[in-house]
Amino acid sequence: MTGPDGLAARQAALVAALVAGGPLPPGFDADDVAVARRALLRKRAGLVRYHWPRLAAALGDRWLAVFGEWADGRTPVGALRDGWDLARHLAAAGRLPACAAAELAAREVTARYDGESAPRRRRLPAVRRIGRTIAIQALGRVLVR
């Protein structure tokens, strides 16, 4: 069966409800799906922590809350980009801790990321300032101050 009642459409609607802020599809137990949604969010936070260790460490006990508030209902784009988007969001709001700024700055000078597709390694030198942190990359070598 295809179309709006077909398996593909119903599976997509459930994924959207679980990770991308979509409405609860008809017939599902709202409590059960909410528990699953929060469990997926915790797992996603763990994967982003793995890719952005200094970001997660800098936020300490608040990591899960900060990530959860930002990510809940936001379509996942993979742990690398999720973390990158969050770090930029925090930096723009002046809420990025200094040691996490170094991590972001180093990533920014190493790869070009347009916020919409996979980051691509930079071939040319680059300089970025995040808060008080400056990162310089040339010939693939990165200096962060």
Partner: protein
């Protein structure tokens, strides 16, 4: 139905615990997450295990066999390639879907236990079997919710899929425990209704209570009721291999080895530590 000779107790190979796994003198069986295996030469520590005669089985997590869409060719090729490079006697995946509408869920999601889902699963499993040079084992997952259109019990659903595809069963005893506990059912009743004669090997893992449910986290110790189910299963007919899955929050070596010993004792296999 036996693909593996008796291998006894094993543990899932992960880079973080590769040293501990390499130091298990009695180890004869391990499993590696297929998508985590780099293309090209397998990691040196994994190759060393192979050379020691340890069986390494690739375990897929992203094929989305339960998805309505066909399995993506690039993912299938990589899965098959992993089985070849490891000279694995079998490979395994889940009865689950992991993406929909172009969005990755980030975890294994249950499919409805319906005729429509059985048709999709059968199609996808057969597509994998057509490329895979070795038998495929399918693992039922731990689910935090059920679909409203469930027509079959878990045992009926599973039996039908295995019969249609001639696939083997990768039985996760911890998933049986989690599902029964969260549905308020008796785990032994659920376990004994499954097609146990098709077991290729067994998973065991830990979990924790959170948010009013039992979560199969793989980051907590295995609870005693799961070991009790292992003992029941092994007293009935002992599977050729049972392995512990640990996927994070790795405890100190002695603690993990102790958990492996408990699994060995519960199953009646020699300790491998």
């Amino acid at each position: 139905m036996t693909v593996l000779p008796d291998h006894g107790i094993g543990i899932g190979w992960r880079p973080e615990i590769a040293g501990l796994v390499a130091d298990l003198p009695g180890l004869r069986f391990t499993e590696v997450v297929a998508e985590a295996l780099p293309t090209g030469t397998p990691p040196a520590m994994l190759t060393a295990l192979r050379e020691r005669g340890v069986t390494v089985v690739p375990h897929g997590t992203r094929l989305s066999l339960g998805g309505a869409e066909p399995v993506e060719k690039a993912r299938l090729d990589r899965f098959v390639d992993a089985a070849r490079r490891l000279s694995a006697p079998l490979a395994s995946e889940h009865i689950a879907y992991v993406r929909g509408g172009g969005i990755e869920a980030g975890h294994l999601l249950p499919v409805p236990r319906s005729r429509e889902a059985i048709a999709a699963l059968t199609r996808n499993v057969r597509a994998v079997q057509a490329e895979l040079p070795v038998p495929l084992a399918l693992e039922p997952i731990a689910a935090l919710f059920d679909w409203p259109d469930d027509e079959l019990t878990e045992a009926q659903f599973l039996t039908e899929i295995l019969e249609r595809t001639d696939a083997l069963l990768l039985l996760d005893v911890a998933n049986v425990y989690a599902n029964a506990r969260n549905r308020g059912q008796d785990p032994l009743a659920l376990l004994s209704a499954l097609p146990l004669d098709r077991i290729a090997y067994v998973h065991v893992a830990g979990g924790a209570e959170a948010d009013g449910r039992y979560h199969d986290t793989h980051t907590d110790p295995t609870p005693q009721p799961v070991f009790d189910l292992v003992s029941w299963l092994c007293a009935r007919r002992r599977p050729p291999a049972l392995m512990l899955e640990r996927d994070g929050a790795y405890p100190p070596g002695p603690e993990l080895r102790g958990e492996l010993d408990r699994l060995a004792d519960a199953a009646g296999y020699p300790r491998i530590t």
